[in-house]
């Protein structure tokens, strides 16, 4: 059974804060839940399915279900890092198709900036029983250098340049200038990116995403319920997932799990990359975007550098408008998990509710793509294709 048409995204909300020193994480979850319910025109007691991930404080979904005082008959929690929230939309649609719930709430929130836990160049201490930990932690593997090594190999094999990667940040900054909530609203040039400090060769500081507090929520509902609400209809057409890892020591860092996840989603949706009018692409770093665009088939492997250059990702300028909210690179990367905001901006585009300066005319088909974990070592990948009916 395909996910195609089994459920709709009926509510979406992005927390306006990027710095939340006085909020608790649970409070942020509740605020985004309320925001998504208001957006959908639903009330708390309509929720009968709840989905969350490791950012939710407590044991899986239990603590947040209590905090929100929900009465779900279906709960689920999974963790593939920042890509989780795209996969949870798919899991919610699957639960709805199986009759396990009718209206599912998905929440994300966190405050890494206020907690000071997030710098991309700091190795993370993990549970030593995590089997890879002893073989990796001593070497100082950290988010920035993990992605940098993928960029270095891509450059080596395909001639990709730092200038081409910089165009991805430039495009995001062109969009962020129109978003009053974006953390970074200054329009940047390729030269600005290249002049920023080299934090992990070959990635510069401006190749990296922002670190923000905040969150977001989505509500997914059965088709007949979606049609009874007053919001534009956003149908889930396709979804795919993958975990890519080191395969026992034999791997290729020039592509990601998006190759598998995207193929599944396109097969579900029965569309091709040429049909997609808008993309939200996970942008923890500029290289993340470039590799996923290749993997999803928007350009051939190795041609991502030429594809993203010269403003091709800028709405109204290029052929493939991306991350029109400013993305994780400029707008928001709440809880260090950018998958939620990827779905939210795609929903805005499909509803015609993006900022007028970046709205894709008559946007009917959009793709959202996530990569969670670390591109170089092991990561989860999730793809979602949505359509406005």
């Amino acid at each position: 059974m395909s996910i195609h048409g089994q459920a709709y995204v009926v509510g979406a909300y992005e927390h306006p804060l990027r710095r939340a020193p006085k909020h608790s994480v649970a409070q942020l979850h509740a605020e985004v839940a309320r925001g998504a319910l208001d957006d959908a025109g639903l009330s708390k007691d309509d929720i009968d399915g709840y989905f969350c991930s490791a950012d939710a404080p407590g044991m899986g979904p239990t603590s947040m279900v209590e905090y929100l005082n929900l009465r779900p008959r279906h709960v689920d929690s999974t963790d593939i890092g920042g890509a989780t929230y795209l996969s949870l939309v798919s899991h919610a649609a699957q639960a709805i198709a199986a009759g396990k719930c009718n209206i599912a709430l998905i929440t994300l929130a966190g405050r890494p900036h206020s907690e000071g836990v997030a710098t991309g160049t700091q190795p993370k201490i993990r549970n030593p029983s995590q089997p890879d930990f002893q073989w990796e932690y001593p070497y100082g593997i950290a988010n920035a250098n993990g992605y940098a090594m993928c960029a270095k190999r891509h450059m080596h094999e395909y001639g990709t340049t730092s200038e081409q990667l910089a165009w991805i940040k430039v495009a995001a900054s062109h969009h962020a200038q129109h978003n009053p909530h974006a953390l970074l609203r200054q329009v940047l040039t390729v030269e600005d990116v290249l002049a920023s400090p080299l934090v992990a060769d070959p990635l510069h500081r401006l190749d990296c995403c922002v670190v923000t507090d905040g969150g977001g929520a989505l509500i997914v509902a059965r088709p007949e319920i979606a049609r009874s609400l007053k919001r534009p209809l956003v149908k889930i057409r396709g979804a795919g997932e993958a975990v890519k890892h080191q395969s026992g020591g034999y791997f290729d860092l020039t592509y990601s799990g998006a190759r598998q996840a995207g193929a599944q989603a396109f097969a579900d949706a029965k569309v091709t990359p040429a049909d997609i009018q808008y993309v939200s692409i996970y942008d923890s770093f500029t290289i993340t975007v470039l590799i996923q665009l290749e993997d999803l088939g928007f350009c051939a492997p190795g041609k991502g550098g030429a594809f993203v250059a010269d403003g091709n990702l800028i709405s109204g300028v290029g052929k493939l408008p991306f991350n029109t909210d400013g993305g994780g690179l400029c707008n928001n990367h709440p809880a260090n998990r950018g998958g939620m905001t990827k779905v939210i901006e795609a929903v805005r585009q499909l509803r015609g509710e993006a900022h007028p300066a970046v709205q894709v005319p008559d946007c009917r088909l959009a793709l959202a793509q996530g990569t969670g974990g670390m591109l170089a070592t092991r990561h989860g990948s999730a793809t979602l294709i949505m359509e406005r009916e």
């Binding site: 073989w135 932690y137 026992g248 020591g249 070592t377």
Partner: protein
């Protein structure tokens, strides 16, 4: 040329990796080979990640390979180079490159293993450019017969 000396965090062995880290104290670097399917894998497991056989053995590695990719971390308090190295035996592993010039280091460059002390009990295998005249360690033997670890 930079030695890239830094304080390496001690690896915390698991029940099935104790042999590797004890051997590291003697400057010996091992990979795991599966006797059922013949493949060598990294990182080392008891059950082969290709066929799930338990018939895996520690095999001393020549400790030579080439750089698959790397990233120079030159702005940290203790600069270092993180890299993936593809061993001549096949698998690619995460490591650090030391005793090198970050500006001329290249993908495809030949490297060989050496051990650096950590802040704890076990030394950590890192790599340096092959034929490095500044090497602090004598070259490891090229081939040592596979042997079954006593605690495996």
């Amino acid at each position: 040329m930079n030695a890239f000396e830094r304080i390496l965090p001690v690896p915390i062995p698991t029940q099935d990796s104790q042999f590797f880290w004890e051997a590291a104290k003697e400057g010996r670097f091992h990979v795991k080979r599966c006797l059922a399917c013949g493949k060598i894998h990294w990182y080392p497991r008891t059950l082969c990640p290709f066929c799930l056989s338990e018939n895996t053995v520690w095999q001393e590695s020549a400790g030579t390979g080439v750089i698959y990719t790397f990233s120079a971390m030159l702005r940290t308090a203790q600069p270092y180079i993180v890299a993936f190295v593809t061993l001549d035996e096949g698998p690619t592993l995460l490591t650090n490159i030391v005793n090198c010039d970050a500006a001329t280091l290249a993908i495809g460059q030949s490297v060989r293993v050496l051990f650096r002390p950590s802040d704890g009990e076990f030394p950590v295998p890192v790599f340096e450019p092959a034929g490095n005249p500044f090497s602090t360690l004598s070259k490891l033997p090229n081939s040592i017969p596979a042997h079954k670890a006593s605690d495996d």
